[in-house]
């Protein structure tokens, strides 16, 4: 089996970070914190009680680190965008003059 040769240790952590970004943006930034918290707790639980053999052996520490990453920077940046003061201006359809820096090439 090909799968048996694969190293899955980072996969749970990657899923935690991705899921945090997903639910943070599509739902609420606090959900990203929850996902990150679950990742950290899950990582510690895995370290204490996880299987000593198998494909996810050693996934505990990466999960803890990724749980922290899910809170900061992911949840933090989602929160910053959610509470940005420009959103209020946008809701009022304010006419503004602003200095901006082009981030990407203009798309046609």
């Amino acid at each position: 089996m090909v799968a048996a040769r694969l190293d899955w240790r980072l996969v749970p952590g990657a899923l935690v970070v991705w899921l945090a970004g997903l639910v943070g943006l599509l739902g609420h930034w606090a959900l990203a914190v929850v996902i990150g918290g679950v990742g950290v707790v899950g990582g510690f639980v895995h370290l204490r009680h996880g299987p000593r053999v198998g494909a996810v052996l050693g996934a505990g520490w990466p999960l803890v680190v990724c749980g922290v990453l899910a809170v900061c920077p992911v949840a933090w940046r989602v929160r910053e965008a959610a509470v940005d003061p420009l959103r209020g201006e946008a809701a009022r359809a304010a006419v503004v003059e602003m200095r901006v820096e082009v981030a990407e090439r203009p798309r046609g």
Partner: protein, 668 residues
């Protein structure tokens, strides 16, 4: 932003979206093309406009709608200027090729689709080859492998090779533009290389996971980006699925090279198909085959194109020759896209949205499980044979479209008009208006197998009636293009003249009272009326209503009876026709102006049609057709046929036949 064009607004690119940073906040600027399209990342400008709320589900906090040009434009970073000049150089070098290849080469090399011929872009999408038009991990992999090959030839050691490859990777990212999608492609390309080139499957999965962690942590918006999802799924398929499939095929005595060539596109397509289906509402059944056939030339074309971009500033003649060498591979890609897009049943309609994606995942899961059991395999094989036996005659040998003996077809071109009038000669038809975009009218004429168009009549010069002219002129034999006295809007008149001149097709005028005949078809020009327009070009009065009221109104006599084609005439022009006592009676009417409310019940009564064709786009923002107009038609006993609900709609001697499968609303 490519608009379909409507009314006085031109089709094609008319505004751009510019992602900007405003003191750390992400803002999307919607701006006119003029001067905004030339900006480069890193440039600081003053933007004046109206803020609006951004779409939820992203880090973008607002959109800024700007009307004027950017103000107080700062200098671009030097490396961005160099990269832009290289990209421009590639376009110039590519211009030695024919138009289709010249547009495709920069798209293939650096994702620059600005010069692409629309029909090629459409073909690539239908064929499941659109990923070739954007910078992806495959581009980075091709660059790295090519550089590694060269440095190995020069007997550079492993560390030196790695450093050179890294520089090449960074250089390519700078050339293509260090944007999130390109950076993502860079990381994913490196992972793909790790999996395939180095043959270390064990380290590929952690690398993919690390790439996801780094990319989402650096830019959380990646988590909701379709491009990111597609990249991860395709790379995961390369890492998890392809090695196993290749081994199995090799055990079946398939040469390894062929096994890899088949396994890579098949796995990538299957892994990404549910997401693509959810996004587009379509499943390409030819994508694997098309990509398999296209794959061998992608790398040579990319490398030669890249060489042309790099050589252009110093050795333009070399750049042109490299572009010429890239010509045959690029022509092959154009050909493959064209063939694949025209395979009957190439694209399967599928429910879009989350449920469509989930449904395809479940179907593929059932297939994967089923294939493990002999009985299920036999049942599936029988099922496939049954489907082929049923579908092949229905879809290919005896297609339901076009219906036999069709006289008139209102093409489903979205929000616009394109009406085809059949002649007695097979494959020969007159076209009235060309819709808002090139692709829909071309596809409609293809479906009808119309190869010769003795006359294209443009009722008036609004974009939703003339936007598809280029594709009609490009793809089939056209005798002439006819216009009425209206010459406004000016941009459209210039465009029509340019396109007809380029195609060497005569541009002629038609006037009230003219009668044109072909075998089995005659067309009488009823309007515009009035001495002031007789034989004169009318350039003034460019407001929408004035232009609409100068629409050419035609009455065609076909094998299915008389057909009144009304362009976009509104109340004033309708009143002129009524007061002049013009005989408007017809069995079929193309309802004026997409069924707008500016249609007089008296006008419809004077026509007295039994069939009312409403050419209108699904989900259009103009509120067409008006319920009031539809009610009037229904009360008069007319059968109302709408292209937004029925797709292409044909009038045959015995009634109306619709094709179904209407075009999706814009943005879906």
């Amino acid at each position: 932003m490519k608009g379909s064009g409507f009314g006085a607004m031109p089709s094609g690119v008319r505004s751009v979206v510019v992602p900007v940073s405003a003191e750390g906040s992400r803002v999307l600027v919607f701006a006119p093309v003029d001067r905004w399209a030339e900006l480069l990342p890193g440039q600081r400008v003053l933007a004046r406009g109206t803020l609006g709320t951004a779409e939820p589900g992203s880090l973008t906090v607002a959109v800024l709608r700007v009307r004027g040009p950017p103000l107080d434009v700062g200098a671009a970073p030097g490396w961005q200027v160099v990269a832009q000049s290289l990209r421009d150089g590639l376009r110039v070098a590519s211009s030695v090729l024919d138009a289709e290849a010249a547009g495709l080469l920069p798209a293939l090399v650096v994702g620059d689709t600005g010069g692409m011929v629309q029909s090629v872009e459409d073909d690539f999408r239908a064929a499941g080859m659109a990923h070739l038009l954007a910078v992806s991990g495959a581009n980075l992999a091709i660059v790295c492998v090519s550089v590694l090959f060269l440095v190995r030839l020069a007997r550079v050691g492993p560390r030196g090779s790695a450093v050179v490859a890294l520089f090449a990777l960074v250089g390519y990212v700078v050339l293509a533009g260090p944007e999130p999608s390109v950076l993502r492609a860079g990381v994913m390309g490196a992972v793909g290389l790790l999996a395939l080139a180095l043959g270390r499957e064990r380290s590929a999965l952690p690398a993919l996971a690390a790439a996801v962690i780094v990319l989402v942590a650096a830019d959380p918006e990646m988590a909701v980006s379709f491009g990111f999802v597609l990249s991860v799924l395709a790379t995961a398929a390369l890492v998890l699925v392809v090695p196993g499939w290749v081994e199995r095929l090799v055990r079946q005595r398939v040469p390894r090279l062929i096994a890899e060539a088949v396994a890579v596109p098949a796995a990538a397509h299957l892994a990404t198909a549910p997401v693509v289906a959810g996004m587009s509402g379509q499943v390409s059944l030819v994508a694997v085959a098309a990509n398999l056939v296209a794959a061998p030339v992608v790398a040579p074309a990319t490398v030669l194109g890249l060489g042309a971009a790099l050589a252009m500033p110093v050795l333009p003649w070399l750049a042109e020759w490299l572009a010429r060498f890239a010509g045959p591979p690029v022509d092959w890609l154009v050909l493959v896209g064209n063939w694949a897009a025209r395979v009957p049943g190439a694209v399967l309609d599928w429910p879009s949205g989350w449920w469509g994606g989930v449904a395809l995942v479940l179907l593929l899961g059932c297939l994967a499980v089923g294939l493990r059991y002999r009985l299920a395999r036999v049942a599936m094989a029988l099922g496939v044979i049954g489907v082929v036996l049923v579908l092949l005659p229905v879809r290919v040998l005896a297609p339901g479209w076009p219906p036999a003996g069709w006289a008139v077809v209102a093409c489903d071109v979205g929000q616009g008009d394109a009406v085809v009038l059949s002649t007695a000669d097979s494959g020969r038809a007159v076209l009235v208006d060309t819709g808002p975009e090139p692709a829909p009218v071309r596809e409609c004429l293809d479906r009808l197998d119309v190869r010769r168009v003795p006359l294209v009549i443009l009722s008036h010069l609004h974009a939703d009636h003339v936007g598809g002219l280029a594709s009609v002129l490009a793809d089939r034999s056209v005798g002439a293009v006819a216009v009425g006295p209206g010459r406004a809007p000016e941009w459209a008149w210039r465009q029509v003249r340019r396109q007809t001149e380029a195609a060497s097709v005569p541009l002629v005028s038609v006037a009230e009272g003219q009668r044109l005949t072909w075998p089995g078809l005659s067309v009488e020009v009823l309007a515009p009326r009035g001495k002031e327009t007789q034989g004169k070009e009318v350039r003034a009065g460019s407001d929408g209503t004035a232009i609409n009221n100068r629409s050419v109104v035609l009455r065609a006599t076909t094998r299915a009876g008389r057909v009144l084609l009304t362009g976009d005439v509104e109340l004033a022009a309708q009143a002129d026709l009524l007061t002049a006592g013009v005989d408007l009676a017809a069995e079929v009417v193309k309802v004026p102006h997409h069924g707008s409310r500016y249609t007089a019940p008296e006008f419809l009564a004077a026509v007295g049609a039994r069939v009312a064709l409403v050419s209108v786009g699904a989900g259009n923002r103009y509120g067409h057709p008006s319920q009031r107009t539809l009610d009037v038609l229904t009360r008069r006993g007319a059968q109302v046929v709408r292209t937004d609900l029925s797709g292409d709609s044909a009038v045959v001697g015995s009634g109306v036949v619709v094709r179904g499968r209407p075009r999706s609303p814009p943005g879906r």
